[in-house]
């Protein structure tokens, strides 16, 4: 019986996964997901792609809020910046689309300095409100800088081209999103096991104590902001590539709240928590849609008219329930379930 994972030396502490078998499980899961196009239709693939793209952004938010402990209500702003950078760089400056993905991440990371630098002196709630202010400001700049962003009309986005093949349909985009997500998961896991990840955790737990131990607060907080904004910017550019038409209204304040709901539901500060939370929150509207379609026509029209409010209500209730009943989120449930099986006849 395996009782605990004991780490006896430094190499084990910084290993990417605690057990070699984790790789096998991860690969198997990846294979199953990669086979999804065999059974799912266009609608299902679309939802999965949205989940993958959103998960990249959530991994970024999780690094900032869950790992470093800096609350951000401004990630809708970074998503917006990423999406518009993608659109503007490809149409007006003729960047190749794949390069523009990373360039938009960089643009978002640079923009994060605008909110990151004043936030160095701020903590907790003051910071949350500054990031909220950032979202408002970004939205207004996009709306009023009409000669660059086309204002409230929105912009069409050119499709991604790989080896001269334009990715327009659902299936190729599904694989692009999946590959990007795996890439970013690996990056995140690697950051987390390095000096940077451990410094961030220390900043979250007690920033003054962290400083006393020689962690440069300014550098690590700014780094957290930039890395997080980079992830979200990349997610934004993928959103643009998927919908191929963007508008300010796509990136409302509700997105920031949705994102926070995802990391709370998943479990703060955990990579698999962020992924699980994204999947659950994004599948909830589908479940609701499905159960409403069974309930009858009256509910279907209600769903169609008030989708925004119903979604909001649902996110709110989910946030409240998880905070109240399972503050550790899905990652906590997963941990408890695993312990139950491992210890089985002796588990309480």
């Amino acid at each position: 019986m395996r009782t605990q994972t004991y780490k006896t030396n430094y190499a084990e502490l910084v290993a990417l996964t605690p057990h070699a078998s984790n790789w096998a499980w991860a690969l198997m899961g990846l294979l199953i997901v990669a086979c999804a196009p065999l059974i799912l239709g266009s609608h299902g693939l679309n939802i999965l792609s949205v989940i993958f793209v959103m998960a990249i952004g959530i991994l970024g938010l999780n690094l900032l809020t869950g790992v470093t402990g800096l609350i951000s209500l401004g990630h809708a702003g970074f998503l917006l910046i990423g999406a518009y950078s993608q659109a503007i760089l490809t149409t007006d400056y003729h960047f190749p689309a794949w390069l523009a993905i990373f360039a938009s991440g960089l643009v978002a990371a640079l923009a994060s300095l605008v909110v990151g630098i004043p936030s160095l002196r701020l903590k907790g709630l003051y910071l949350a409100i500054t990031t909220l202010a950032f979202t408002f400001i970004v939205r207004h700049i996009v709306l009023f800088a009409e000669n660059i962003t086309r204002g409230s009309e929105g912009m069409a986005v050119e499709p991604l081209k790989i080896l001269g093949y334009a990715i327009k349909s659902d299936m190729p985009f599904f694989y692009v999103a999946l590959i990007m997500l795996v890439f970013f998961i690996l990056i995140t896991l690697n950051i987390m096991r390095s000096r940077i990840g451990r410094a961030w955790l220390a900043v979250r737990d007690h920033d003054i104590a962290a400083r006393a131990m020689g962690i440069n607060l300014m550098r690590y907080k700014l780094l957290a902001f930039m890395v997080s904004a980079f992830y979200t910017g990349v997610a934004g550019s993928l959103v643009a590539l998927q919908t191929r038409y963007i508008n300010v209204d796509t990136f409302s304040i509700l997105i920031s709240i949705e994102a926070l709901a995802m990391i709370i539901v998943g479990g703060m500060g955990r990579v698999h928590g962020a992924l699980l939370g994204t999947v659950l929150i994004l599948l909830l509207p589908e479940l609701l849609n499905f159960s409403f379609s069974i309930a009858g026509d009256r509910f279907t029209t209600l769903m169609a008219d008030r989708i925004y409010e119903i979604k909001g209500l649902m996110y709110g209730v989910v946030i409240l329930l998880f905070l109240r009943l399972e503050p550790e989120g899905l990652a906590g449930i997963w941990r408890k379930a695993k312990r139950f099986w491992v210890h089985w006849p002796l588990s309480q």
Partner: protein
């Protein structure tokens, strides 16, 4: 000059709304150390309830006030009891997220119940412009200014002279010590939520008397943040002052610098202020010990 005066006056009127909202933020922050992100939504819910109340014939404005305010007190107490108190002792992040969750739930529920169409709120104070020399004000605007001035005065007296107010200051200063001194900290928290809800009610009523009632009213909560930041999150009177400053600044920016700036002037202003003074103009500096 006339243009300037009118901009200034309408800025002060909007500012008094922001001031009422940010006083609602500050009072909860003082007593419990958390930001109530649901103030705007509480305001929205109370405004819609008062809209239904105002449909009763023969209620009059005094009657409307006398029914709306007790309802808002009740609402504040309910929210505190059901959502906030069980979270006592949890990390600050979770507690604040509860108010964010609550905000989303209230906003969506109100829209689902009352719909998105703007509603014409009755004008119990009349609709004639009252002139003061060159200035012309609607009764609703005067109501908003007067209410804020009165509440400011009352809050000042409350924190300085009443037992509950002093107990509240003690609690915000150090919760454990206050508890040891025999202050019922839970009751203080309940009172502060009720008071915050009353501020939201007055802000909602003033809003309804000036504009028509529509779901955008909940945005006022977010728009009130710059005011409370400027004044310092923990200063009630500072919040009122911050509201006036932000209201005037927004109007001046909109009037002289160009369209679009009106909405973000407040947010730009606080980012600049926070760079210089991280705890707002009147906020208390927190001293941390390891």
């Amino acid at each position: 000059m006339n243009y300037f005066l009118n901009l200034l006056m309408s800025g002060l009127v909007i500012g008094s709304l922001y001031g009422l909202i940010s006083m609602g933020f500050a009072i909860v922050y003082r007593a419990t150390g958390m930001v109530n992100f649901a103030v705007g939504e509480t305001m929205m819910l109370i405004a819609y309830i008062s809209y239904n109340l105002a449909q009763f014939p023969g209620l009059g404005f005094a009657g409307l006030l006398l029914t709306t305010i007790p309802i808002s007190v009740l609402l504040g107490l309910l929210i505190e009891r059901i959502f906030i108190r069980p979270m006592l002792g949890e990390p600050m992040f979770s507690r604040v997220m509860v108010t964010i969750g609550l905000a989303v739930v209230i906003r969506s529920a109100v829209i689902l119940i009352w719909g998105v169409e703007p509603k014409a709120y009755p004008r119990p104070l009349g609709d004639e412009v009252i002139k003061f020399g060159e200035l012309a004000l609607y009764p609703g605007q005067i109501f908003s200014l007067v209410v804020m001035a009165l509440l400011c005065l009352m809050m000042w007296a409350f924190f300085r002279h009443s037992r509950v107010g002093i107990a509240m200051r003690a609690t915000s200063n150090n919760e454990t010590t206050a508890l040891l001194m025999g202050i019922n900290v839970k009751r203080i928290s309940a009172i502060s939520w009720a008071l915050s809800s009353v501020f939201a009610a007055f802000a909602g009523l003033s809003f309804c008397l000036m504009f028509s009632l529509e779901p955008e009213i909940s945005q006022m909560g977010l728009r009130g943040f710059p005011a409370s930041i400027l004044g310092g999150l923990d200063s009630v009177i500072g919040g009122a002052f911050g509201g006036l400053v932000i209201g005037v600044a927004e109007n001046m920016a909109g009037g002289y610098l160009g369209r679009g700036l009106k909405e973000i002037a407040g947010f730009v202003l606080i980012i600049v202020v926070l760079m210089v003074k991280p705890y707002g103009l009147f906020g208390q500096r927190e001293i941390e010990r390891v």
